[in-house]
C-alpha cells in the first residue's frame, strides 16, 4: 500500500525553492534515505512532511488523500525524531518515556523499564537526564522508537552520538519495522548497511546571486 506520495514537491525559504521539485512514492515496507548536500534542506523536508514546516509548493498525499498535517489519524501513524529530541533534562529517563507514550499514544504509565533496558539504560531509570551523557540522552529518545507501534517513522539523523553497538541495534530495529509493514524515512551521514535502502535525492536549486 502506498503511504506517502509527493508530487512536484519542494520546500520554500522566503519564497524561493530550496531544492528542485520532486516526485516520489513511499510504500509500506520501504526504507528510504533522504540524501543531498549540506543545506539542501533535508531537515526542512522531513519537517514539512510532519507538519512542522508549512512553506512548500506541490502536494503531499497520505494514503491517497491530500495530507492534512493536523489530521488525528495521520498523527497517530507518525513517529518523528528530530535533531532536538524532546527529552527534558529535569525529568528522569522513566518520566520522559512515560510522558512520551502518554502524550503520543494516550497510554497509561507502563513499564518503561523494559524499553530503557533495551537501549542499555538499565539502572538509569530514575536518574535525571541532565546527569546522563549526550549518547545516553539520545538513547532515552530512542527508547520511544523501541516501543513505537506507528507505521511511518521519520528519523532525522537517528545515529548521531550513539556507539557502534547501538547503531547495529538500531539498524536491526529499522529493518524489522520495514519487514513487518512499516516505512522509514531517514537522513544520516553514516553509511548504512541495510539491504534494500532506497534513496530520495534533493537537488539544491542553484541560486542566482544578485
Amino acid at each position: 500500500m502506498t503511504l506517502l506520495k509527493l508530487s512536484q514537491f519542494s520546500c520554500l525559504r522566503d519564497g524561493e525553492p530550496l531544492f528542485e521539485p520532486m516526485d516520489y512514492t513511499l510504500s509500506q515496507g520501504d526504507l528510504v534515505q533522504v540524501v543531498g548536500p549540506n543545506g539542501a534542506g533535508k531537515t526542512t523536508f522531513l519537517r514539512s512532511l510532519c507538519g512542522l514546516y508549512s512553506e512548500f509548493e506541490g502536494s503531499i498525499f497520505w494514503k491517497g488523500a491530500p495530507l492534512n498535517p493536523s489530521d488525528f489519524e495521520f498523527l497517530q501513524h507518525l513517529f518523528y525524531l528530530g535533531h532536538q529530541t524532546g527529552v527534558k533534562k529535569t525529568l528522569t529517563a522513566r518520566e520522559n518515556v512515560d510522558w512520551y507514550f502518554g502524550l503520543q499514544d494516550g497510554a497509561s504509565p507502563q513499564s518503561s523499564e523494559e524499553l530503557l533496558a533495551r537501549v542499555g539504560l538499565s539502572g538509569y531509570e530514575d536518574v535525571p537526564c541532565q546527569q546522563l551523557s549526550a549518547g545516553q540522552m539520545r538513547r532515552v529518545a530512542l527508547a520511544r522508537l523501541f516501543g513505537s507501534q506507528r507505521q511511518l517513522w521519520v528519523l532525522d539523523e537517528p545515529f548521531t552520538a550513539i556507539d557502534v553497538l547501538g547503531v547495529a541495534q538500531l539498524e536491526g530495529l529499522i529493518q524489522r519495522h520495514c519487514e513487518t509493514g512499516g516505512s522509514v524515512l531517514l537522513t544520516t551521514h553514516q553509511a548504512i548497511t541495510l539491504p534494500g535502502v532506497k534513496s530520495w535525492k534533493l537537488r539544491p536549486c542553484i541560486r542566482e546571486e544578485m
Binding site: G82, Q84, V87, S108, R150
Partner: protein, 232 residues
C-alpha cells in the same frame, strides 16, 4: 508490526501532560522564587524612592502592588514555552494527537500555579509593608487570584509568538503590556475601592468576566502562534 490502534485515550494523555508540567515546575524552584523576590525588592524600592509616609503609601499601595505583580508575571513569561522549544518537546507536542490547545491550557495553568498563586499569597505581606488597610487584604488576594490567571493566559499569546526569537524577552513585554491595560485598571480599582470602603463588586466581576473570556480565547491564539513558531 501491529496495526496502529486508534483508541487514543484522551484522559491518559491529559494526565501524562499535567504530571509532566507539574514535575518540571516543582523541580525548577528558582523559577518560582525569582518573581517573588522581584516582587519583594521592588516594594522595598517604593518607600526608598518616594516617601515612607504611611498616609502616602496607603494611597499608593493598591496600584503599586498591582503594577509590580504585573511586571513580575511579565518577567516569568519568557520561560513559558522556551525550554520546550529549545529541547524539541514543543515539536513533539505539536505533532501529538492531543490538540495543542489543551497543552497550552495545561502549561498556562502550571505557570500560574508557580507564579500567580505565590504572588497572591505573598500580597498581604506587601500590603502590610505599604500600610494597606487590613480590610482590603482579602479583596487584594481575591483580585490577584483572578487577575494573575488572566495575566498568564494573555501573556501566553505573547510568549508563543516570541518563543523562536533568540532574545525575545523585550519584544514579549512590548507586545503584551498594552493588552494588560484592562486587567490593571480593574484589578487596581478593586483594591482601591475596598481600601476606601467602597463597593468593589463591579470591578471584581469585570475581572472575573475578563478571565472567562481569556480562558476561552487565549489558548487558541497561543496554540496558533506556537504552530507558526515551530516553523523554523
Amino acid at each position: 508490526m501491529n496495526p496502529a490502534t486508534l483508541d487514543y485515550n484522551l484522559s491518559n494523555a491529559l494526565r501524562a501532560s499535567v504530571a509532566r508540567e507539574l514535575r518540571i515546575s516543582t523541580r525548577q524552584l528558582s523559577e518560582l522564587f525569582n518573581p517573588l523576590l522581584f516582587f519583594l525588592v521592588v516594594v522595598v524600592f517604593i518607600p526608598l524612592g518616594i516617601s515612607s509616609d504611611p498616609a502616602l503609601l496607603t494611597k499608593l499601595a493598591p496600584g503599586m502592588i498591582w503594577v509590580i505583580a504585573l511586571l513580575a508575571t511579565l518577567l516569568s513569561l519568557e520561560g513559558l514555552f522556551k525550554g520546550d522549544f529549545e529541547d524539541g518537546s514543543l515539536e513533539q507536542m505539536v505533532i501529538s494527537p492531543l490538540p495543542l490547545v489543551w497543552l497550552v491550557l495545561i502549561k498556562v495553568f502550571s505557570h500560574w500555579l508557580v507564579t500567580g498563586i505565590p504572588l497572591t499569597l505573598l500580597a498581604p505581606v506587601l500590603g502590610l509593608m505599604l500600610f494597606l488597610p487590613t480590610d482590603a487584604y482579602w479583596i487584594l488576594m481575591l483580585s490577584l487570584f483572578l487577575g494573575t490567571a488572566s495575566l498568564s493566559l494573555v501573556g501566553s499569546i505573547g510568549a508563543a509568538l516570541t518563543v523562536s526569537l533568540r532574545r525575545g524577552g523585550l519584544v514579549l513585554s512590548l507586545i503584551v503590556m498594552p493588552l494588560y491595560v484592562p486587567i490593571l485598571i480593574f484589578g487596581a480599582d478593586t483594591v482601591n475601592s475596598a481600601a476606601h470602603g467602597l463597593s468593589y463588586a463591579f470591578s471584581l466581576a469585570v475581572l472575573g468576566v475578563f478571565l472567562l473570556f481569556a480562558l476561552l480565547a487565549a489558548p487558541f491564539a497561543a496554540a496558533g502562534a506556537l504552530k507558526i513558531s515551530v516553523n523554523t
